[in-house]
């Protein structure tokens, strides 16, 4: 199927006095799966609604496959939208919900009538073709047994699949999904996530997926666009985003549950002072500004107290999490850190143990106080 590329060009949107979106530029290649990731209220859903045509941007343009969409009605944009609430038609059966986009597009209002409709030339073939496609879609989503039910008689996961079916049935060129998994329980969310990935692989439709769940974004996306406070901060593949967050907000958001942070004075030759110890961080090389040292728990290890280059720390709490454990430690000058080590290793530790914390100098980040790190992809191009 022919997917379309999507160009979002300098989109801005205000609600009253609030800038909801500012200068958003994003290029999505045909067939790509891009996630808009950000905390609630960051404007990601508004951006999706602007792409769909449900909301009008105050500035900027949306283009799909080279065609300007700004003046095009939502129904003529050749895209489908999956709502967080699913927005199924409550008065229609599952079958009719899935058929609705086809019925609305392909049958005239006369042909929709029960008896007269069947008498019109060509209507029967068209209705049969609609039936056929509804059956295909419901088969793909395992909804065959539910076709006669009303949405009110379905579970959350089933409703979600109906919403997907309604979006898929007319084979749109672009899929827009607004937190479609948010209302599902944890196990079902992970299962459905897999389904969405599988469907995307089969259909190769350009997909924009909105979520506030970084794990969901990482699991599904070719690239993730991180939005904070109406600004696009970074667009990168999940692995790159994990390795090279462009600023502290992005790093924090992608390091749930924990990110170690410590405000530090301007580095000298890449060396940062933590209490009385000096550690060298590659990221801080060449920077002469005060800022924040940040590293993930998995980029720190616990060693003997007198290990060379290690910060002296004291264990305060150990949290086991399956194969790993998070060890919370106090360092000098009131600094607190978390290290992620193997659960095996953590079993030999006790609260109050005095140890040495070594930070991975290659992987830790230094965020200067004036904003972004030097590295990281911020261009937004493919």
């Amino acid at each position: 199927m022919a997917a379309l590329d999507l160009h979002i060009d300098d989109i801005g949107k205000r609600f009253g006095a609030i800038d909801v979106l500012r200068g958003i530029c994003l290029r999505v290649a045909a067939g790509e799966f891009v996630t808009l990731l950000g905390p609630s209220g960051c404007g990601k859903s508004t951006l999706l609604r602007i792409i769909a045509g449900l909301e009008r941007a105050d500035q900027g343009h949306v283009r799909a496959g080279g065609r300007g969409l700004d003046a095009v009605a939502p129904k003529d944009r050749d895209l489908a939208f999956v709502f967080q609430s699913y927005a199924l038609y409550p008065h229609l059966s599952v079958h009719d919900n899935i058929a609705a986009p086809l019925v609305m597009r392909e049958l005239s209002s006369l042909e929709r009538l029960p008896v007269i409709g069947a008498l019109l030339p060509g209507a029967i073939q068209r209705k049969r073709s609609i039936q056929e496609r509804v059956r295909q879609t419901s088969g793909l989503l395992k909804l065959d047994a539910l076709l006669e039910r009303r949405p009110s008689a379905l579970s959350g996961g089933q409703r979600q699949r109906v919403a997907l079916g309604r979006a898929m049935v007319r084979k749109p060129k672009i899929f827009l999904m607004d937190e479609p998994l948010a209302n599902l329980d944890a196990a079902l969310r992970i299962h459905t996530r897999g389904e969405i990935a599988r469907l995307h692989k089969e259909m190769e439709t350009t997909t924009i997926f909105v979520t506030h769940d970084q794990a969901e974004a990482a699991a599904l996306s070719d690239r993730v666009a991180v939005i904070f406070g109406g600004e696009l901060r970074q667009v990168a593949a999940p692995a790159d985003l994990y390795r090279e967050p462009v600023d502290l907000d992005v790093a924090r958001f992608l390091a749930q549950p924990f990110l170690n942070e410590l405000a530090v004075a301007a580095p000298i030759g890449g060396g940062l002072m933590i209490g009385g110890s000096r550690i060298i961080i590659r990221d801080a090389l060449g920077s002469g500004l005060a800022g924040t040292l940040a590293f993930r728990p998995e980029h720190a290890t616990l060693a003997e107290k007198d290990h060379p280059g290690a910060l002296p720390v004291r264990v305060t709490r150990i949290e086991h999490a399956g194969i790993d454990a998070h060890v919370f430690v106090d360092a000098e000058a009131g600094a607190q850190f978390v290290a992620r080590i193997s659960a095996e290793r953590a079993r030999s530790l006790r609260d109050g143990d005095n140890l040495g914390l070594t930070i991975d100098a290659e992987r830790a980040w230094f965020f200067p106080s004036n904003g972004s790190r030097q590295r990281g992809d911020h261009s937004g191009t493919v």
Binding site: L79, A87, P90, H91, S93, M104, Q131
Partner: protein, 277 residues
């Protein structure tokens, strides 16, 4: 426990007082309509000793009253259809307005409606005489519709407000025009509210008295006015008047449980059939 009992007794007392006040005239009318003329003025009064349908058969046979009843049905049904045709699209539009200015305008129209109807009678009579519509059903339908539309828009826009916007947006993406979104999605979802509104409009038009009295003479007289026929100067025919009142009550008694029923079942089966095959 004791306080609960006290509360319950208080509740029942208040309800009983209300019920007595509101229902006893209806029961009195019902019993009068079924009484023999001889029973009517008996003292001490009797409820009904031998129920008789003689007053009902008499008023049905009465050409004047039965044609008035038909007028009432025609006027009320036409008022519903016209009012709904005008106010459903208007309410849908107002419900989707971004700005609240229009809603305030509607409040103003409703406030004007609160003016005593007497104010309208003379100008409207003069107007309809000028256009030769006095004593026509059309005049009554126009007046009833004019007075019903603002109220209907007011109610209906509240019902359309309750239709989730996302569902309408889904329809707009699925390929529906604004009109189709309204007819295929929003109206079926708001169906129970629409029917409830229609019934209210019907009842209002059915019971309307003042304009029917002033704008009609013979041909277009409605039942609410025709009851007066049984209360002439020569002495009221209580049995017929009571039977006529009971007949007037019938559609209202029929509709009230219906309103309750549609509240419970908000889905529209006909629409479902229509989309399928």
């Amino acid at each position: 426990m004791r306080r609960d009992l006290g509360r319950r007794i208080y509740g029942y007392l208040v309800s009983a007082a209300f019920a007595l006040f509101l229902f006893s005239p209806i029961l009195w009318t019902l019993s009068t309509s079924l009484k023999q003329p001889t029973e009517m003025f008996q003292w001490p009064p009797v409820i009904v000793r031998e129920p008789s349908a003689q007053h009902y058969t008499a008023i049905i046979a009465d050409k004047d009253f039965s044609s008035a009843l038909i007028n009432s049905i025609v006027v009320s049904c036409s008022t519903i259809i016209l009012t709904m045709a005008l106010s459903i699209p208007a309410a849908f539009g107002i419900s989707h307005l971004q700005k609240t200015a229009m809603r305030r305008l509607l409040t103003l129209v409703l406030a004007l409606r609160a003016a005593p109807a007497m104010i309208y009678i003379i100008p409207y009579f003069l107007f309809f005489r000028q256009v030769h519509l006095v004593d026509t059903k059309i005049a009554l339908i126009i007046v009833n519709t004019m007075f019903a539309v603002p109220l209907a828009i007011w109610y209906l826009s509240a019902f359309f407000d309750q239709v989730p916007r996302e569902i309408e947006e889904a329809a707009m993406i699925d390929g529906a025009s604004t009109l189709q979104t309204m007819t295929l999605i929003s109206i079926p979802i708001a169906k129970s509210g629409i029917i409830a509104t229609a019934i209210l409009i019907f009842i209002g038009s059915w019971n309307e008295f003042l304009f029917a009295l002033t704008l009609t003479r013979d041909d277009a007289k409605t039942a609410a006015v025709a009851i007066l026929n049984f209360i002439p100067f020569e002495g009221t025919d209580w049995g017929k008047a009571a039977a006529a009142c009971v007949l007037m009550l019938v559609p209202i008694v029929v509709f009230v449980p219906f309103v309750k029923k549609i509240r419970r079942r908000p889905n529209n089966d006909r629409f479902r059939e229509r989309v399928k095959r």
